[in-house]
Symmetry: C2
Subunit: 250 residues, 2 copies
């Protein structure tokens, strides 16, 4: 089991399996032992999809917390900011993922969420979600799993940031993206990066030049093909090898 593959991923909306017909994502509407009445309640909970244009903030650090957000389409980044101005991208989030859970602790958002492309989100009022999850144990359990998954994901990133070299980080990042695209029915081998080198660098704890160099090196080695933001993975085995490349100390 590779924890790193969970790195940026999961917290998939399908885990909530909310009857999100207002999101018109059929796959998410699969019941998980819910009665029709319960499904309808879930359905009513989730607000109609809201559009967000590229560059728009979904929420800002400090804003008061009302809702979680399920990403229906598009791509977001979340970032925390240090008082001295440094900022750290804490995640890239795609279709089906739920963001905003950091805000529960203080009733205020602790990070910014910004659309990296034109996107749509479904708002999930948290108070009502809590209320409903009191009546529906399986929903309650799902909510807990989703939050827990976020914790596990963060631990994977800590491992990456704390103990990997630049190329290992980038390889891990690419494989994670690949897997997440694949699980959504897109090609795992070719995809389009929505974020800049600088944003990738911030997420991976590297400078943009280092990210660029690593891309170039992978391409020179024939592991991937890079054309601006388009990535093609040509040798996934080599990429996985790069990811884990580090002599095991006894």
């Amino acid at each position: 089991m590779n924890k790193l593959h969970n790195m940026t991923a999961p917290v998939h909306l399908s885990q909530l399996k909310t009857a999100c017909s207002s999101c018109s994502l059929q796959e998410l509407c699969l019941p998980f032992g819910l009665s029709d009445a319960e499904l309808e309640q879930l359905d009513n909970l989730v607000q109609r999809a809201q559009p967000k244009l590229r560059g728009e903030y979904l929420y800002r650090a400090g804003a008061s917390f009302q809702s979680l957000y399920a990403i229906r389409t598009g791509f977001f980044k979340t970032q925390v900011m240090h008082e001295d101005g440094r900022e750290q991208v804490t995640g890239f989030h795609m279709m089906g993922e739920i963001i905003g859970m950091d805000a529960i602790s203080t009733d205020h958002h602790t990070c910014d969420a910004i659309a990296l492309e034109d996107s749509e989100v479904c708002e999930i009022p948290f108070g009502r979600l809590e209320q409903l999850s009191r009546d529906i144990p399986s929903l309650q359990r799902h909510l807990h799993k989703i939050m827990s998954r976020e914790i596990v994901r963060d631990h994977g990133i800590m491992l990456l940031l704390g103990s990997m070299k630049a190329e290992e980080r980038l390889a891990t990042f690419l494989l994670n993206l690949s897997q997440r695209f694949a699980s959504r029915g897109y090609s795992p081998n070719g995809f389009h990066l929505r974020m800049t080198r600088e944003e990738i660098g911030s997420f991976l704890g590297l400078k943009l030049e280092t990210v660029s160099r690593a891309f170039s090196k992978f391409q020179k080695e024939g592991i991937i093909s890079v054309q601006n933001k388009s990535i093609e993975i040509k040798d996934i085995t080599a990429l996985k090898l790069t990811m884990g490349q580090q002599e095991c100390r006894t």
Copy 2:
């Protein structure tokens, strides 16, 4: 508001405010709008304190998940492990904190928890906690806050690992410890480290030699006094300055 101060901290048991008389921590037994009957239910939920000797595992990655653990006394570290053997300390946990929430997502623990000194923990069967939290909304909200707080903490560590230099990391770490000791009624200026330089290094994404050098440098500058595992903070202002020392780029 300094997010970093939450870095390794919180998820304080007092947030759960469980009627943890079996933990005999009076401060934690303060009701938060609970009836006597509810308090008794909480009380029954939490198992009698279990002792753990230094070096003992509280749980291991892969073990099936049953319970969260509230640390009654002592000190634990949690660590995740990469398949190639690399490991990363994800946190140091002290009295009053709750650990094990990463396991909810998969019903299996995803990290090891190891006692760094002789300790006592209270086991909280998670299924029953969920059950009870369905009946007691304020308990439910508390549980969510505690999990969310863990997420926020992890984001702070990601910021540290992703954008701070060695000395900034160590300064942040020391200030975090200081604050956590203070909030428990201990001196914020002098305390005893329970972990080795290597464990600090793993947590901070540094090698043990780098940690040692940073300690030495702080001591030479008169910011702290180090004597093995005993730390005395002599100039907390300078320490805070060190933490935030990085030119703001426009």
